[in-house]
Symmetry: C2
Subunit: 293 residues, 2 copies
């Protein structure tokens, strides 16, 4: 029976820290604010926006929403970004992506128009360079940082440990690898072209799965003593949901067969995902603190 | 008896390609030019400058040297960088680093003043972001790219292979890891905090050693069938030099014990180092081509 690494415990500790920082800022007359730029009405975006707004409320961080129509032009969107860049009351900006199809070719240009000092969701080249260089140039992506917060909260020392990351995306896999390396782990990155991922995964002391493939992490991938961080949020049409029906969120792990073997594991839901929102809000507060440092 | 992966063969092929590109550019009225910024008279810098200048001459690339006194101010140096940025006849810029001690605190600011389009030696954040993202935003560092050129020239397919990089510097180790991942290798990065590097190194199909520690790569690190790229350039006071005396350049490998075991290995000197200069000149030509594309 593995120890469950619970997002809510990590989030509670993070929130406590953030609330303290917000208090200090407000005593200095600074009220940290997140600007949210949403194009269109995609349900996933709205759902994340609702969660982020609630968390900001809880933590005393203001939110300013800028909602744009699905057919917004590149010029209009760039004008909005220019406005938030110049707005001293907005400290961090979250812009939902991917942008609509007609902006796909210019998405990178639009992303990089944002002032990196406000790039709390790591969408600029400078933020990514910071992750690669291990320097606070912008902000790291929230999801891999949430993984690190979980490791830190539960006192899991990465130094000299073998860490295996399954997935090489720029949003999770590659940044997680850099962050683990920064914590002095010996890091291996596996991906779709890797031969025998299970054998490599079994060598891990710390296993981070961000494949995004339901039921891909089976008992063949694990051994006793491992720490497993299951990052992915997949839809499992067979999983029994809270209402007793079929269809629920699940990670990469076949939880019922992996959990009894390993030492500790994050559940899905209730693991990494729930920490990510507080990491985002923490970035907004950090951005405000950096500005007034 | 291992196959020797010879820098001069790779360089010859690279040079042929570069000469063709220079010819095409000159037919369009463009004469590619490298700007070299050197502060002070450090022998290592002068030696590299001499090598780069000769290689440029051979390949038909112009060189403009900007030599500054050891006590140059930040403002003077920034003015020089501004000038080369605006000079349309200079396509790539090499600035020797580290800068003198009095500029240490502002080195990053000075480095990032260079137009990334001319950053042929990967000193800007944008170039590093490009390496991390796998996009040609600037240019990758020349040394790890030289390793990739060697692998390519000798037809070594990285896809699905286990690659182990010993060293995690921003100049070689981390970029080499990203580039190997881009070639679909499964990459592990070892460093000074790694436990049992030899055991991990023996699992490698492709082993890149950039530890920079003389005699650190012993027979314990290798097995038959491996490709070994020895990146480091160390001074070995005991090695017999060309004149029959003691003292010569050597890599990380104890060559006499590693070479008989592995399948292929780069010698030092005569391996990676000799390819690096042509990679640099190739970047200058690529910068000129990008500008006129």
């Amino acid at each position: 029976m593995a120890k469950q690494l619970l997002g809510k415990e990590v989030t509670a500790a993070l929130n406590e820290k953030i609330i303290g920082q917000v208090k200090e800022l407000k005593e200095k007359g600074v009220s940290p604010k997140l600007g949210i730029i949403r194009v269109g009405e995609r349900p996933d975006d709205i759902s994340y926006e609702t969660g982020a707004t609630k968390r900001c409320d809880t933590l005393g961080v203001e939110v300013e929403k800028i909602l744009l129509p699905e057919d917004v032009s590149k010029e209009e969107l760039l004008a909005v970004i220019d406005k938030v860049n110049k707005d001293d009351t907005i400290h961090g900006v979250l812009m939902f992506r991917p942008l609509p199809a007609h902006l796909k070719a210019v998405q990178s240009e639009i992303e990089n128009a944002l002032d990196p000092a406000k790039d709390v969701d790591c969408m600029t080249h400078l933020s990514l360079a910071g992750v690669f260089e291990g320097k606070p140039l912008g902000f790291p992506p929230c999801t891999p940082q949430a993984c690190m917060e979980i490791l830190d909260y539960y006192g899991i020392d990465c130094k000299g440990k073998n860490a295996v990351v399954i997935g090489r995306s720029l949003v999770v896999g590659k940044p997680a690898a850099m962050m683990l390396m920064g914590k002095n782990a010996t890091v291996t990155v596996c991906h779709t072209k890797t031969v025998d991922v299970p054998a490599i995964a079994r060598e891990a002391d710390i296993l981070i799965s961000c494949a995004g493939v339901l039921n891909s992490l089976t008992k063949e991938y694990v051994r006793p003593g491992q720490i497993v961080i299951d990052v992915s949020i997949n839809w499992d049409p067979e999983k029994i949901n809270k209402k007793g029906g079929k269809g629920a969120i699940a990670g990469d792990a076949v939880f019922d067969e992996v959990e009894p073997i390993v030492e500790a594991i994050t559940p899905v839901p209730g693991g990494v995902g729930s920490v990510t929102t507080s990491v985002l809000v923490g970035h907004v507060v950090e951005a405000a603190m950096r500005k007034f440092a």
